[in-house]
């Protein structure tokens, strides 16, 4: 099927092709730029083009491909760095140079790399779609190969093969390969969804202790610029207790991607000691790269994440920032002259967002193992105003809300997670887990920590009226202890090697020490010792240690 370009407006191109389907990939122009059908009319189609459309001419050819946007899935994705369309950025660098070139196609996976395949099924066996038929060693990961469809196996050979080479065949003659493609906008199937219940340990004290996340859960991190969204996302990407991380730089800074790539190549995963990059897939579609590819980037990423989830892994997807995705949606919608909703966003913003976030979860996979896909999404509200549509749309699907506070950030209290407005719906379930796995002290310590922070807030108002001098000693003690909690516990320096990551056991120790000292002084005050003296006793004890 081929036709011609009859209109161009920014990233959207109108073609006179007939018989296309919605979301089908169309190659437009002599340069064969990739685009996706976003609107169909009887004798024309509107295509959202993933690349810069400058230079495209009226009358240039356009051709349908009969397939929607696909991700290539197979061994070799790990450590990969892709753009929003899953093009491998290092190969584009080798071929096109330092700057991105338009119309450059490149397969996501290196097709000449060799893999060792070990079959787990014999000739003559019947397999269902999604059933495991063998495995490949991908770095330190057991990469399960599953049947792309049901059938009887005719042949399955152990040995080395190149990526898309055949590892066997079905009785009806069909090929079996360890590599497959999947339409990125369609969630991959699983048997059933389970409720999240296991903790997703982040190594960030304020999160693990006060607002714990769950494997298979979703969390959002909204905050104005400079409040620490990116550093928090990157810290979690480094230290989270998961098997695999997919990190999407969605419409943000190029230098941040350079920073992430450099650090992840040097640093070790604290849980396994291996290089972080070995467990990471990066999707980088920075703010100056094409907007339509930015829109696609989160789908490309989540499809790769689901693929590893289906092997029974715990996968964490981090996106920085989901607001840039929403803005891409808005730019495309407005170039289609759709009726705008709130703040110019299309009216389907909330349902698209919900559809994306629904792809998180703990699942029993098609082959019966348990895997999980967790999401942590940063949100960049204009002017730091959380009533805006994107934050609100995210809130509906999010299980945890880590609100970043500009006033904390300005005084360099990082992570600037506000301890009154944030919440985690996983709190209760995870609390039980920590109580059993770590210490029965956990719930009480958490309770007392919260209480002190709340009392501090109330007392601060009093202090503003009467001054600290005019307050009772017991109240001044509360101010003192709450300050210690803030400075020594909640604050965590991402740039300090010792501080950047704290396992939950250590978090509990730290907070317990502060709370114990608080109690000791409380007792001393009851014995009529002054606060000043009681504090000094503590320092002496400390010095004696």
């Amino acid at each position: 099927m081929s036709g011609r370009i009859i209109g161009i407006a920014g990233p959207t191109v109108t073609v006179d092709l007939k018989g296309l389907r919605l979301y089908e990939i169309v190659l437009v122009g002599e340069a064969r730029l990739t685009g996706e059908v976003v609107r169909l009319e009887r004798d024309r189609a509107v295509v959202q083009v993933y690349e810069d459309t400058r230079g495209l001419s009226l009358g240039e050819p356009a051709r349908g491909t009969s397939t929607p946007l696909m991700a290539q899935l197979g061994p070799g994705l790990l450590s990969g760095i892709f753009d929003g369309l899953q093009r491998p950025l290092d190969r584009l660098l080798e071929r096109d140079g330092h700057f991105m070139a338009g119309g450059s196609a490149a397969a996501p996976l290196a097709d000449r790399r060799e893999w060792r395949f070990v079959p787990e099924k014999l000739a003559g066996e019947q397999v269902a779609a999604g059933e495991v038929i063998g495995q490949v060693e991908e770095g330190n990961f057991r990469h399960l190969v599953s049947a792309s469809r049901a059938g009887e196996i005719a042949e399955l050979a152990a040995g080395t093969f190149t990526l898309c080479g055949q590892v066997g065949s079905y009785s009806d003659g069909g090929e079996i390969s360890a590599c497959q493609v999947w339409p990125v906008r369609r969630p991959r199937p699983f048997r059933r969804k389970l409720a999240p219940g296991e903790p997703l340990v982040t190594g960030q004290r304020v999160v693990d202790f006060l607002y714990p996340l769950a494997r298979g859960g979703t969390a959002i991190i909204p905050g104005g610029f400079g409040t620490g969204k990116t550093i928090l996302e990157q810290s979690v990407a480094k230290y989270a207790d998961v098997d695999l991380v997919v990190y999407v730089g969605c419409g943000e800074r190029g230098n941040e991607m350079a920073e992430l790539l450099e650090e992840f190549s040097d640093l070790a995963d604290p849980w396994t000691g291996r290089r972080l990059m070995e467990r990471t897939i990066v999707v980088a579609n920075t703010s100056n790269m094409p907007v339509a590819a930015r829109e696609a980037s989160i789908y490309t990423a989540v499809t790769m994440a689901e693929y590893y989830r289906d092997m029974g892994y715990h996968v964490l997807l981090l996106a920085d920032s989901i607001s840039r995705w929403a803005e891409a949606l808005r730019e495309i919608s407005s170039s289609l002259e759709e009726m705008p909703g709130e703040e110019g966003y299309p009216t389907y913003l909330a349902s698209r967002m919900a559809g994306f976030m629904e792809r998180a979860g703990v699942v029993e996979t098609a082959n019966g193992t348990i895997g999980s896909l967790s999401m942590i999404l940063s949100v960049s509200p204009p002017g730091g105003d959380f009533t805006e549509p994107v934050t609100q749309a995210c809130l509906r699907g999010a299980g945890a809300f880590l609100m970043l506070d500009a006033s904390l950030a300005h005084r360099r209290h990082y992570p600037a997670v506000n301890w009154f407005h944030s919440y985690s719906l996983y709190g209760q379930a995870i609390l039980q887990h920590f109580t059993h796995q770590i210490s029965p002290e956990w719930p009480a310590a958490q309770q007392r920590c919260r209480l002190l922070l709340q009392r501090e807030e109330a007392l601060r108002e009093v202090a503003e009226i009467v001054g600290v001098e005019g307050m009772q000693e017991s109240d001044r003690l509360i101010l003192h202890s709450a300050e210690r909690i803030r400075l020594e516990f909640l604050r965590q320096n991402a740039y300090s090697e010792d501080d950047a990551f704290t396992p939950p056991e250590r978090s509990l120790q730290l907070i317990t020490a502060i709370l114990a000292e608080h109690q000791r002084i409380e007792r001393r005050l009851a014995e009529k010792v002054t606060l000043k003296e009681a504090l000094e006793e503590g320092e002496v004890d400390h010095a004696a240690l």
Partner: protein, 439 residues
Amino acid sequence: MRLSEHTYRTISSIRGPLLFLDRVLQVSFGEVVRVVGPAGEELEGEVIKIDRDTVLIQVFGDTRGLDTGSAVSFFDAIKRAPLSPAVIGRVFNGSFSPVDGLPSYVPDRWGPISGAPINPVARARPRDFIETGCTAIDALNTLVRGQKLPIFSSAGLPAKEMAADILRNSRLAGGGEFVVVFVALGLTHHEYSFYMDVLDEMQGGFAAFVNRADEPVIERLLAPRFGLAVAEYLAFERGMDVLVLITDMTNYCDALREVSTAREELPGRRGYPGYLYSDLASLYERAGRIQGLSGSVTMLPVLTMPEEDITHPIPDLTGYITEGQIVLSRQLHQRGVFPPVDVLPSLSRLMQQGIGEGRTREDHRRISNLLYRHYANGRDLRQLETIVGKDGMNEQDRTMLDFADSFEQELIHQGDQRRTVAESLDLGLALLKRFGLDS
């Protein structure tokens, strides 16, 4: 591919800088056209929309005097800049025509002005300290080579004096000189001559693209792209360290809004188009370094916050893209502090890599953290002071108030004095010691 140029006289309407042209047979998106008016005046324009044989053209320059009989010629070329080291020492208008009375030069090559995004894996992480001579930056919000760090100013604040000092005083770690690319957008004559005097003193040379307040609005959108195309060329093909000063980005954004309104696009917040973020990113993201290449593009945009509101879309979206911001404060200015930098909302995101042992000094991080913490406390206490009065406060709190005052008057304030980073840090340390806050 067209072999010859095509000329049409089929304009159906003219709206501000926009022309609608009918019955066009061959045209490319983003193509440059030439428009010849009834009096023989020549203007350039760009194709911004194609709908079958109707083409929408945005004209660069003043469209007054054009009529529907004007001729429009197509060449099948996109907007390009003449690239050559000969650009150094020259002054151009927003259309890249020389305004210094000298003839044009023969370019090394022509490059598209919008450039192409740097492949994220090709980027080298910025980490080389730049000494600006300004304590609020060097000690507290350190700038590094390849960073984009804007100055957020407000009407009446001395942003240009501060920018000028940075130009005069900045030194690369290795001692080399910057080449400055100066992009002036909507400047008054007074501001323009102020900057030109400063540029004339630059050792490393400069190239200037100047669009004055009374010159076409549309050239305000072009000038930064010319400037950046030149900057990328000098940096990544000629190995130079380029410092791009763009002022005032607020005028750029207002020009974008004006053009967008004329195109009848859906207005976003405060009337700015919904793509303002992506558009600004297409400029700011051109700063950086590239692995294996020696040059760099460091960017210093200056903007005026309308109504002193940092949540206004211009500073807001800028702050979301740039690697920090230097925020100027009216209170400090009124108290005679120069440069009047409010360090609390200011930030340099790339500071951590640029400081410490072997870069600035091993105690840099500690000093800067302490200064921030205690100054933030002192500032909080000023609110308390307005309620209970200084006499109602305890001694410790009164000390913190005095510390905040001294911090502003002695450390942030430096008048026209250039300080090395060591001097800035020593001064900060001495201040902390004097108040017993150095541990």
